[in-house]
């Protein structure tokens, strides 16, 4: 396995160098690998990131490129995403080998695929926003004493967002400190008969300087002082408020993103067979298979659940035989390997289910996937365990364990790649 990785590192580097500048990727805009996205770019279920990856397995080694981007206007749903991609073997020897842990007949050789994903993610309902705001408006004066209201929040220059994060003693203290600082500055401007700046600026310590709007809003509050109340110092009281916000938000389904994905795949793989009427000649050709798939995914903030169906036209993988014939004018014989007759066409109906779960923030994720071929009664499962990177670790890497019934058995794959975004 290690040998395979080392062998193909130059190929990965070249692919990255080719791909990234060509797509004008701004490294500052790289999005992260959310559980929403496929780590190796191979899954037909919803993925929102562009990924380039290299996988070295016990069966084959492949390079995969997947480019994804949201459309300026939704085609269907609230947002629409288009994806195109392809995969190809990176070594000649693995050209006819299939991926591990899959019953699909479209994984050997080279493939091109395209898909469209439609996202349903409705805006938060107004009554949810209003109920949450009502909690913040009612509780703010109960937590910060001195006559301040939630509407004064922007004047603190702290992050005053009405959410469960607001009900944190540290956060409340920073808001109170912000109020006091701005009042102090406005009093000083008034004492020196100076006009505060219109625009928001910061001093040499990066502290915000009170603006004309701040001082206008606080002109009758210059004697006020913000302090935390006893309630703000009680963890159980704050926890209760956080729970209240969670209850309001859980009534809204807006945090659940639903994704419908439809895709197609074309696959080309090498075949070598003997003509049934002339077993002395090995015919080398290519077969072209096609597939269509549909998947429906539910995406929560930390995990995704997906199910779908694939319909594939492939070619039956019959056992190869070795046929030897004498070399003329010698005592040696020449042996050729191939199947007897052209591989027959077959049609597969595959059901699949997949989940991607974040185990540890910015560190580890798992994406178990099961497949069942209704035509051949074959079952496959694979479990990729991968590093979900944070901002400073945008390389993806992982290991996949796979199993297929009826023949292929267990397999292991190591993959490394990079996620990138056009946004």
């Amino acid at each position: 396995m290690i040998r395979l990785i080392l062998t193909h590192v130059p190929a990965l580097c070249c692919a990255l160098l080719w791909s990234l500048p060509a797509q004008a990727i701004d490294t500052d805009k790289q999005a992260q690998v959310a559980p929403l996205s496929s780590p190796d770019g191979k899954s037909p279920a919803a993925s929102s990131l562009s990924v380039i990856s290299l996988a070295a397995a016990t069966t084959d080694s492949k390079a995969t490129l997947s480019l994804a981007g949201f459309t300026p206007k939704p085609i269907l749903g609230d947002y629409s995403l288009l994806q195109i991609g392809g995969e190809a073997p990176v070594s000649k020897d693995s050209d006819t080998e299939t991926d591990i842990g899959t019953v699909s007949g479209l994984t050997a050789g080279a493939s091109a695929n395209a898909s469209a994903s439609f996202y349903w993610w409705p805006h938060e309902q107004l009554d949810v926003t209003n109920q949450r705001d009502a909690i913040c408006r009612a509780e703010f004066p109960e937590l910060i004493a001195g006559g301040f209201e939630y509407e004064d929040g922007p004047q603190s220059h702290a992050d005053v967002a009405c959410s469960s994060d607001l009900f944190d003693a540290k956060q409340l203290q920073s808001i109170a400190d912000g109020f006091n600082d701005i009042i102090k500055q406005c009093s000083r401007f008034k004492a020196h008969n100076k006009r505060p700046p219109n625009k928001l600026t910061v001093d040499k310590n990066n502290k915000p300087i009170a603006t004309a709007v701040d001082c206008d809003k606080f002109k009758n509050k210059l004697s006020w002082k913000a302090t935390l109340t006893d309630k703000a110092k009680h963890a159980s009281y704050l926890q209760n408020l956080q729970d209240k916000i969670d209850v309001v938000e859980s009534a809204s389904e807006s945090k659940l993103v639903r994704v419908l994905t439809v895709g197609t795949k074309e696959n080309r793989q090498k075949v070598a067979y003997f003509d049934k009427s002339d077993l002395s000649t090995l015919i080398k050709d290519h077969s072209t298979g096609y597939g269509v798939n549909v998947a429906y995914s539910l995406v929560w903030p930390s995990w995704m659940l997906s199910g779908g169906f694939s319909y594939e036209k492939t070619f039956k993988n019959t056992d190869s035989v070795q046929i030897c014939s004498p070399v003329p004018m010698s005592t040696s014989s020449k042996c050729l390997t191939g199947t007897i007759g052209q591989p027959p066409e077959m049609y597969s109906r595959i059901l699949f289910a997949e989940s991607r779960i974040l185990i540890s923030v910015g560190a580890l994720a798992v994406g178990p996937r099961v497949e069942y071929d209704l035509t051949a009664s074959k079952f496959a499962a694979k479990v990729p365990l991968y590093f979900a990177p944070d901002k400073d670790k945008t390389l993806i890497g992982g290991i996949t364990l796979g199993y297929v019934t009826h023949g292929d058995g267990f397999g292991v794959e190591v993959f490394v790649g990079k996620a990138f975004s056009f946004y």
Binding site: A34, W121, P197, T211, E249, D390, K391
Partner: protein, 123 residues
């Protein structure tokens, strides 16, 4: 409060206590690309239902401008994200406070409403 579908800006009913004589300015919203922005993030006015009316999102609208907002007025936006917990969703607002709001995603609760006060332009 802005309600329903449409392009109504925050001046359509949510503005409060505008400071007299400070005029109107354009307010620009932009997702902050210098931060670990979660893949799905957006900012919109409360009560809007059409994603086309997002003030900013990282699907198809990295930024937009609300023109002619009254200096000193306050309005509200909802910031929402669906991504990896622990990541930050951030957006910039120019000519307004807060200049940047960073919203860290938690396991539950990935939206927040934020009050923004329109500031003047220049010194």
């Amino acid at each position: 409060m802005v309600n329903g579908k449409g392009k109504a800006g925050p001046s359509g009913g949510s503005s409060k206590s505008a400071a007299p004589g400070l005029g109107k300015v354009d307010v620009t919203f932009a997702l902050d690309d210098k931060n670990t922005t979660a893949k799905l993030a957006r900012v919109y006015l409360p009560g809007t239902t059409d994603p086309e009316n997002d003030l900013a999102n990282n699907m198809d609208k990295p930024k937009s401008t609300l023109k002619g907002q009254t200096v000193g007025s306050t309005f509200e936006v909802v910031v929402e994200a669906s991504g990896t917990p622990g990541q930050k969703c951030a957006f910039n607002v120019t000519n307004s406070e807060p200049p940047v709001l960073r919203r860290t995603l938690k396991k539950s609760g990935n939206s927040a409403s934020v009050l923004i006060t329109v500031l003047g332009d220049g010194e």
